[in-house]
Symmetry: C2
Subunit: 326 residues, 2 copies
Amino acid sequence: MKTTVGILGASGETGQSIVNGLFEAGNFKIIALTRPSSISKPANQALAARGIELRPCDLSSTQEHLVNALQGVEILISAIVATEQLAQIPLASAAKAAGVKRFLPCAFVPVIPAGGISLLRDHKEIVYNHVKQLGLPYTILDVGWWYQLCVRKLPSGRTDYAVLNPDERIPGDGNVPSALTDLRDIGRYAAKVIADDRTLNKNVLVYNEMWSPLQIVEHWEKISGEKLERTFVSETELKKTIESCGDDMDMQTLMVKIPAQYLISWGIRGDNQPEYAKYLGYVTSKELYPQFEPRKFEDYTQEVLDGKAPQVYEELKAKFAEMMKK
Amino acid sequence: MKTTVGILGASGETGQSIVNGLFEAGNFKIIALTRPSSISKPANQALAARGIELRPCDLSSTQEHLVNALQGVEILISAIVATEQLAQIPLASAAKAAGVKRFLPCAFVPVIPAGGISLLRDHKEIVYNHVKQLGLPYTILDVGWWYQLCVRKLPSGRTDYAVLNPDERIPGDGNVPSALTDLRDIGRYAAKVIADDRTLNKNVLVYNEMWSPLQIVEHWEKISGEKLERTFVSETELKKTIESCGDDMDMQTLMVKIPAQYLISWGIRGDNQPEYAKYLGYVTSKELYPQFEPRKFEDYTQEVLDGKAPQVYEELKAKFAEMMKK
């Protein structure tokens, strides 16, 4: 008997990785909970073509609609867009009413403590607190920083097609190690985590390897034979940037404030590390799944160099490029 | 070699229980961190007479002063008054700088989730978040609801001397069990918890017995042979009361809002229960210390009936009585 998993945001990057991971595992029935207006979108039709049920789910609708949308869902995974974290509050209430056995609210970020370090993280905390007030069984699954965000532009231009994160500034002294994960492995981890009693009502950090920003730059230089610039950014400069932004989840916050907060958190504070995660109460993939074979950073970077890395956020990048033209 | 424990609020009710518990355990050197202006107060002089070092510690002073005040302190316990929770933020920073090995920020309340259920609890959460951002080793020690808050007035007046909580309203239907602890046992538990590696960077709930409000009323009737009134209060009424108060930590909040929030939390939501605590990530005294012999609620109530129960918050009660006369 397959476990029924409802996924919100199944057509997003994290959502796609999760869908792939659950498919590969084979023991899950997947339902993509989809905004009614988005059901006809190509990304969702691609899911349908793989045999995934597309079920209309409108987070702005009534509690009754949400409870209906969650009928039969045993495990609910939310990989909702960054700007919409708080829309998960009615979703969690509906999950409780619908008898969902485990809810994964949208975490899927590096390790960051609550309370002012990151606005995005603090939005998530509001959701986590609501889940805990409901007594809804949960797992908070954090994933470190993506390999896919560590592609550096090279003078030759060979890696341009795969650069997702145009901000190449090195935070602090560049020597703080950070937990990295291949986006494509997130779903493979998720398939294990959601079927594991040890992760119920727990925070879990899954990650592949530890790399510092300077190690990453040196690695790109080594495998490409090209020379890279190193531009450093201090905590003071980043804090100035952060202070210039507001607290609304608008485009400036998303494109400027949250990235700067990330740089301080994983790049200077060193939050995104397994020892700190354990201090915060996390269990990590290394203890849970010692047999798991994660993709290697060296393999990923070679894929990129060889022009074979799959693209990420293509749609977003296209929009961004269009915005820049205007 | 004795472990050096610094206690903030050592002359308060929780603080006194902790001092007594650490004394009884025998393996701790105790330092009472005392407001400079309060050192001459009788309660502090009574501590000094027991050989406890009184060390001036002014939370509103400089970081340098606080770091100095914490020299040699291995374990720091804060049992600061309810209204001053946020003053622990510079204290925690100083504890980190002074190399304190474990900080117990002021918890010492029933189990309550963060995020709007209780203003007092949410002030504590701000402190906990700060501690975790510092990476300071910590234990959050919650203690359930005191036996001493469960004394009922009797028609005969026999228990009047021991009534600490004049609010005898029964929340909801009165059938929600809640974790109760004898105030005098808190220190005995604390002496075990602070010397226990299993409780490092953990939330701990220590408690003696589970009782519902109606069971408590029935118990008083049984042992006294007197008949008690039952006045119920609904969640709606309590919420109205809560809404009539502000968010400042003033006298109204302390005497009206926080008590009403407690009634909803332990009396209606049922937060103050070991199963919910475990869901929230707590370990409890029952698993940690199965050999511990807690004081029995039946023994405490008999003590009260026999006129032999020690008084609690005498000073506070006297002030309150004076206020009422005006």
